[in-house]
């Protein structure tokens, strides 16, 4: 066989044999945009700031990152923050934290000392090295966030069969779906049913892989369950329980008709890594550590009303907490205000830039923290962190805290919903939202309602100065509008998660801040 024939054949063999991996690689390449451009450290800003003054709008994570790096490079920095505290969406609700949604009643968090809910960002994938950079350099203690837990429950209500609306452990669904599927594929392969796709040598390896993948019997390729899905009676000491009693797998039909298999995939989604981090004590700890570095430069409770610019500089018109208006002059603006809010601010930018600011949608997002009297999920169900996933679109995720292990009380995330469902749930009063969340939880775990004590909820689309959880670029606006906002309009630069492909994550905010500041600094050097 000639060289080309061989390589072609090899290619085809590989493509057909490892189709799944091939697809994964293609997906990785698509993601590769993010991987390749991901920043792991702040930009070096050589040269001088030439006495230039930067006005940063917003003291969220993007604004704080801009300020820290700009001050290091010698810029004079003034940060304008609408709220009385820094951090933007990187908030943590603990005792005393207060929030009044637009059109809503004031909630003041009354969780017991030490209890909290991260109602904004709550987990950091291990590869978000920009976020981790600040945690590390600012000495913010981190702990593991359990983002996947085979012991946690799946609760699918819209399927059929005996597993419908039944709390089933994820590991059992995973073992059985993959076990049964591996059995079928292995048997077909063994019989020669895949011979038009695999060579004889690869067929044996494929069968061997499927035996491992699905815990199949090497003898007859049958899946009859596996210890990893748990026991009916756990093994222990002596004769009783002695070896324990194995559990019986669900049938393939029951697993398939339940719909619960929808949570399964070969590997975690890029952003939904199994290994994640959280700051000890609450997500706001990173933002607070960043705030400390630049605090004297922040003007709190100061709302931007207008941003003007000309060839000589910029002027930002603000109103302070007492209703007094004033203006701040500088050389450049780095604006990190969410586009959902920025679209109603008087910005002296080109019509094209203005159009791009108004273009994207923002995601309505709802979360609720539920304080429980005792950690029944740990004590009774042996679930330590991770999530209950459900197909109920008004709930989607219930999450167990990855902090305070073995403690007494704990705070659950009672729902985490988006879009129209978040809009719907947010119409309820805080008390009704809690009642709704508890009623759902009660269906999954019978200890839920009797242990519920108090709640704190947020609907980000109703939070002033945010008006949405995160930007929701679609394919079209990403192509036509997003690039416009990546470049400055005159002396005005935008930064934030909305100016990144890591939308909705602090890493997006930080990396866009780094990128824009580097751009600005190069311009200052060239001038």
């Amino acid at each position: 066989m000639d060289r080309y024939g061989l390589s072609r054949r090899t290619l085809l063999e590989r493509l057909s044999l490892v189709g799944g991996v091939g697809l994964m690689m293609a997906g990785m390449e698509a993601f590769g945009y993010g991987i390749a451009s991901a920043s792991t450290a702040p930009p070096l800003l050589p040269g001088s700031a030439k006495g230039k003054k930067l006005i940063i709008l917003g003291a969220g994570v993007a604004g704080l990152a801009t300020a820290i790096e700009a001050m290091k490079a010698g810029y004079e920095v003034q940060i304008v923050e609408a709220r009385s505290f820094a951090g933007g969406r990187a908030q943590t609700a603990r005792k005393g934290f207060s929030l009044t949604e637009l059109g809503g009643e004031t909630q003041t968090c009354d969780f017991d000392e030490g209890g909290y809910i991260n109602h904004g960002p709550w987990r950091i994938p291990y590869h978000h090295r920009s976020t981790l950079h600040y945690a590390k350099t600012l000495g913010v203690p981190l702990e593991i966030f359990v983002n996947d837990n085979d012991a946690s429950y799946l609760f699918f209500e819209s399927g059929k069969g005996p597993l419908k609306a039944k709390a089933v452990r994820k590991g059992q669904i995973a073992a059985d779906a993959r076990g049964h599927a591996a059995e079928m594929l292995a048997k077909v392969a063994k019989k020669g049913g895949l011979d038009d796709m695999v060579t004889a040598a690869d067929r044996d390896q494929l069968v061997a892989y499927l035996i491992t993948e699905g815990y199949l019997s090497p003898k007859d390729l049958a899946y009859t369950g596996t210890d990893g899905r748990g026991f009916e009676v756990d093994p222990g000491a002596g004769m009783v329980p002695g070896p324990g009693k194995p559990s019986t797998p669900f049938s393939m039909t029951d697993v398939l008709s339940s719909g619960a298999w929808r949570v399964l995939a070969s590997v975690a989604n890029y952003e939904q890594q199994r290994t994640m981090f959280q700051p000890s004590g609450g997500m706001d700890q990173i933002a607070k550590a960043m705030e400390k570095k630049v605090q004297p430069a922040i003007r709190y409770s100061t709302v931007v009303e207008k941003v003007a610019q000309n060839a000589a500089g910029v002027e930002v018109f603000v109103v302070d907490g007492a209703g007094k208006t004033s203006s701040i002059k500088g050389d450049y603006v780095v604006c990190t205000i969410p586009l959902s809010v920025l679209r109603s601010i008087d910005m002296q930018v080109s019509p094209r830039f203005k159009q791009a600011i108004s273009a994207p949608a923002y995601a309505p997002v709802g979360k609720i923290g539920l304080q429980m009297k005792r950690r029944f999920w740990e004590e009774d169900d042996h679930i330590y962190g991770g999530h209950i996933y459900t197909d109920n679109p008004d709930i989607l995720t219930v999450s167990f805290p990855s902090w305070g292990w073995m403690g007494n009380k704990g705070v659950l995330l009672g729902y985490y919903q988006f879009g129209a469902n978040a809009a719907k749930i947010s119409a309820k009063s805080p008390a009704d939202r809690a009642a709704f969340a508890v009623a759902f939880g009660q269906k999954v775990m019978p200890q839920y309602a009797e242990n519920y004590e108090k709640s704190f909820s947020v609907a980000w689309h109703r939070v002033q100065y945010n008006l949405g959880g995160w930007v929701d670029w679609n394919d079209e606006t990403r192509k036509t509008e997003y690039p416009v906002l990546c470049e400055p309009d005159g002396r005005i630069y935008l930064a934030g998660e909305h100016v990144s492909y890591i939308t909705g994550w602090q890493a997006g905010a930080i990396e866009s801040a780094w990128q824009q500041l580097e751009k600005l600094h190069k311009r200052v050097q060239a001038a």
Partner: protein, 131 residues
């Protein structure tokens, strides 16, 4: 607690009965559906919140071309989510017809058929992901 899907299924089942016997008892009204799905932002009296959520009372868009209204409601705009996956055409028609006749508004009803025909056109929006 009812799931949305169950409610939609129930709504579909009662449609035939509604046609024959008038408004079924179990069918939510346009006002109820509006309060459930829209009032969190646009507020119960349709007055919105200045700087954040547009008023629907007297709003040119809400009272204007049905094609624009159906497009915005199905696909979302700005901070407003797409409702195409969470509400069926009959419910959407009831909501919008309520909006166009409440709070002093006077505009022609929009029908389920209007929404059905609008669904064939618009491009798919992105699916929101957890963070």
């Amino acid at each position: 607690m009812k799931t949305l899907n169950l409610r939609l299924a129930a709504a579909a089942l009662t449609l035939a009965a509604v046609a024959a016997a008038g408004q079924a008892q179990s069918q939510p009204t346009g006002e109820q559906l509006y309060n459930d799905n829209c009032a969190a932002c646009h507020q119960q009296a349709g007055q919105g919140i200045p700087g954040a959520f547009p008023a629907l009372a007297g709003d040119k868009v809400a009272l204007g071309d049905p094609k624009v209204v159906t497009f915005v409601v199905l696909t979302g705009r700005g901070g407003m989510p797409a409702f195409k996956d969470s509400l069926n055409d009959a419910d959407l028609a009831m909501i919008i017809t309520y909006v166009r006749s409440a709070w002093g508004n006077k505009a022609k009803p929009i029908t389920a058929a209007d929404f059905a025909s609008a669904r064939t056109g618009p491009p798919p929006s992105t699916k929101l992901q957890a963070h």
